[in-house]
């Protein structure tokens, strides 16, 4: 099933029904191998030039979860977790990643950057910020289910934020207006400061509030994206792999994913994590982005406006320390060092 899914042009929607288009979650260039991702980890804080806001998921197709309860094969999901050890297949995650990475290899890093810069000028910075906030929130939601016992209040607040963003994106049409060919080339480096995102939405779009803009507004970013994406479309034949049938399905599954999150909270059964991710429209997660996000914003990220927010010795809040320990542990497992 995994192989099937990787065939360019294959009907990914059957396999990944809940998967968002990559473009819709602001994906960028995917690292070739996990080692590449891993190798970037130490430099994540200093390397300002690489797009830091993409997230790449590390998927591990496994048939079984732990505790002997066979579950449907993971169609997608964040394979970062304690369950790695219990994977009965014991397939090398790195091997799988390498195979996948090859297919998604991006041609030409330099062209990337150029295209990215061109795109930056045309895409609304508010949309970018909003997108990155959405990405961040989804990461937080997914990660918090890997903790021993998620903080319900925090999860509810993050989920509400995600819903708000989704509602707004639905209202001003950006939720489905971004064309499939966009393939996530939305460049996310050089993000502007926090204030833009934190200001009211209608302030960003001009005098009219978001609902009033309707199609008139959405044409803007879409048409702006087109010149960028058409140049890059040939480079990503595999992007169609991640296409879905339609926005409605997308939204439905998005809602469903939030629902599943709460069901998971209710039952708190590790096996539910698989169910949670089975058709969740999870974006790709760059592990180092995730990790650096947990490290308290000491790297340039979506909130670039604030340079020195993190202290000289960046450390997460006490409650994040266990997260960090988990993630370190997980990274080690995945890299099999």
């Amino acid at each position: 099933m995994w192989e099937e899914a990787q065939t360019p042009g294959g009907s990914a929607s059957a396999v990944f029904p809940g998967l968002l288009r990559r473009s819709e979650v602001g994906l960028g260039r995917v690292p070739e191998t996990f080692a590449e991702v891993r190798g970037k980890l130490p430099c994540a804080f200093s390397n300002a030039s690489r797009p830091v806001n993409r997230i790449v998921v590390t998927k591990a197709p496994t048939a079984c979860w732990n505790r002997g309860s066979p579950l449907p094969r993971l169609s997608c999901g964040l394979r970062v977790g304690l369950t790695r050890r219990q994977d009965p297949d014991n397939r090398s995650l790195k091997d799988t990643m390498f195979a996948r990475g090859l297919k998604r290899k991006c041609v030409g890093h330099e062209e990337d950057v150029e295209g990215a810069l061109a795109g930056l000028k045309t895409v609304s910075s508010y949309s970018l910020q909003r997108q990155s906030l959405l990405d961040m929130s989804l990461v937080k939601l997914q990660l918090c289910h890997m903790l021993v016992e998620p903080n319900l209040c925090r999860s509810v607040l993050i989920a509400n934020t995600v819903r708000q963003i989704q509602e707004e994106m639905t209202q001003d049409g950006t939720w489905r207006a971004v064309a499939p060919q966009a393939a996530g080339r939305a460049p996310l480096d050089r993000l502007v400061s926090t204030e833009i995102l934190c200001r009211a939405a209608w302030e960003q779009e001009g005098a009219c509030p978001a609902p009033g803009l309707g199609d008139g507004h959405t044409q803007g970013p879409v048409s702006d994206l087109c010149p960028v994406t058409s140049a890059q479309a040939p480079r990503h034949p595999q992007s169609s792999v991640w296409e879905m049938d339609g926005p409605r399905e997308n939204r439905g599954s998005f809602h469903k994913s939030l629902d599943q999150i709460f069901e998971t909270l209710e039952t708190k059964n590790p096996s539910c994590m698989e169910e949670l991710f089975s058709d969740v429209d999870s974006p790709y997660y760059d592990l180092d982005t995730v990790l650096t996000g947990m490290m308290g914003g000491a790297r340039p990220g979506p909130c670039e406006g604030l340079e020195g927010l993190a202290p000289a010795t960046p450390g997460p809040s006490a409650s994040c320390k266990s997260d960090l320990g988990e993630l370190d542990h997980v990274v080690e497992i995945l890299v099999e060092t």
Binding site: C153, C303, A310, C320
Partner: protein, 452 residues
């Protein structure tokens, strides 16, 4: 708790705070178990209890005034230390239950012993702290070292006599209230009837009788039938200080509900609903998160209540539900940094707040080991810092200022230089005197008013 009065200086509320003591290790490497998670004075203020992440409770006692040592007047020294909660494992869910003490609440003293309730995420315990300063000697059936004597060897009987011994403070668990909460307990509150108390978790509030451990009454349940519809959780709850039928609970949406237990057994329908209308001009994606109330406290008088959300402290008149009567900005300069604070999770920090004995001043914590005090009468506020640098005995605390932009004056600190790992979440104010306890990670600072 007494209503009003207290030991406030007659000249008004011009506080001059001075360092008094600091408890805790000095080294930079903070052991997670040592992080203080709750601070609470007892009803008289003679005892100060702290709970930490390692499940331990440390109680400090105030020294009596002593003419021979005038400078140690009012100092707090360790009175008792005990392990209140141990880490547990929930086998059904395969989840660890943290031993961190979420809250401590004292019971009013009724005899020589002291009682307090301490809770972690799942279990509440009633502890009795008693002193022992006498010991019986001269038993008939056992030797001084405890060995049993052979009854046939006893030829004469004697009456045991009481002899003084070194003071020993014992803490023993008298009640364990367990298995009543599916979600994490965030609040406990002792009722003014001194017989019952409430415990609140994210979705439910239970009413207990202090004598009965195998039963509790659920009085609030906001769990939706379908968990998919969950959008709001309970964040704090407290009984009214005088009316034993009234309690309030706050939510993650910035609302407070006041409930009257006389109206129905299940208080799902509130008697009063407090919510401030949102300012549409400041709406952002973070509006809901920063409106989430992290603490709610009734004033000693029972006329007002105070709520703490991420950026401000609000004082509400219980007779007016439409909006608070006072709003005090704690660290408004963080409003433009909300995205970063969301990213590093600081936006979810739960700050507490407290009243002084006369309800004329309120205090709450901030970042960089700063804490803020607001004088309700003079409308003045001050930012102070709990740091080792300003820890000379009886040294006055210098007001601090955060520079929000532009030219930074001398002694000001810029927002970007704030240390967000140094957060003061827990503070307590003596019920009568101007003595405050401030928990800074693993250190407990005690400050006193110079005039005091």
């Amino acid at each position: 708790a007494g209503a009003g009065g207290g030991g406030c200086p007659a000249g008004g509320n011009d506080f001059q705070w001075c360092f008094s003591q600091v408890k805790g290790a000095i080294d930079e490497d903070v052991a997670e178990a040592d992080i203080i998670s709750t601070v609470e004075f007892n009803y008289s203020g003679d005892l100060l209890a702290t709970g930490d992440k390692g499940g331990r409770v440390v109680i400090f006692q105030r020294e009596q005034e002593n003419k021979s040592r005038p400078h140690s007047r009012g100092e707090y020294n360790v009175y008792s230390t005990f392990q209140s909660h141990e880490p547990e494992f929930d086998y059904l869910k395969s989840l660890e239950i943290e031993e961190k003490i979420n809250k401590i609440r004292w019971l009013p003293q009724q005899n020589a012993a002291h009682f307090l309730l301490s809770t972690n995420d799942k279990t509440i315990k009633l502890w009795k702290i008693s002193e022992r300063d006498k010991r019986a000697e001269g038993y008939n059936l056992k030797d001084e070292d405890g060995r049993l004597r052979d009854p046939f060897r006893i030829t004469a009987l004697r009456v045991p006599i009481l002899k003084p011994m070194d003071l020993m403070v014992e803490a023993s668990p008298r009640r364990i209230f367990a298995n009543a909460h599916t979600y994490h307990i965030n609040s406990i509150s002792v009722n003014s009837d001194h017989e019952t108390y409430l415990s609140a978790d994210d979705l439910r509030i239970n009413l207990w009788h202090l004598e009965i451990t195998d039963r509790s009454f659920n009085i609030v349940d906001i769990k939706p039938a379908n968990m998919e519809e969950l959008t709001e959780v309970i964040t704090a709850a407290e009984f009214h200080p005088h009316q034993c039928n009234v309690f309030v609970y706050s939510s993650s949406k910035g609302t407070i509900r006041l409930c009257d237990m006389r109206s129905s057994a299940l208080c799902d329908r509130h008697s009063k609903f407090f919510e401030e209308p949102e300012d549409p001009s400041s709406r952002s994606f973070f509006s809901e998160i920063i409106s989430s109330i992290s603490d709610v406290k009734f004033s000693h008088s029972g006329r007002y209540m105070m709520t703490r959300d991420y950026l401000s402290v609000k004082v509400w008149d219980l007779n007016m539900e439409s909006r608070p009567v006072e709003t005090h900005q704690v660290h408004e300069y963080l409003r433009s940094k909300l995205c970063s604070l969301y990213e590093n999770d600081c936006i979810f920090d739960k700050f507490e707040c407290c009243w002084n004995g006369s309800d004329s001043a309120i205090m709450t914590g901030s970042y960089n080991n700063f804490f803020r005090m607001f004088d309700r009468d003079t409308r003045r506020d001050v930012t102070l810092e709990a740091s080792r640098e300003s820890s000379k005995p009886r040294a006055s605390l210098k007001p601090r200022k955060v520079c929000t932009g532009g030219k930074r004056k001398k002694d000001e600190i810029s927002v970007d230089s704030l240390d967000f790992n140094k957060k003061i979440l827990h503070t307590a104010w003596h019920p009568a005197d101007n003595v405050i306890a401030v928990a800074a990670t693993n250190n407990l600072y005690i400050f006193q008013d110079k005039i005091n």
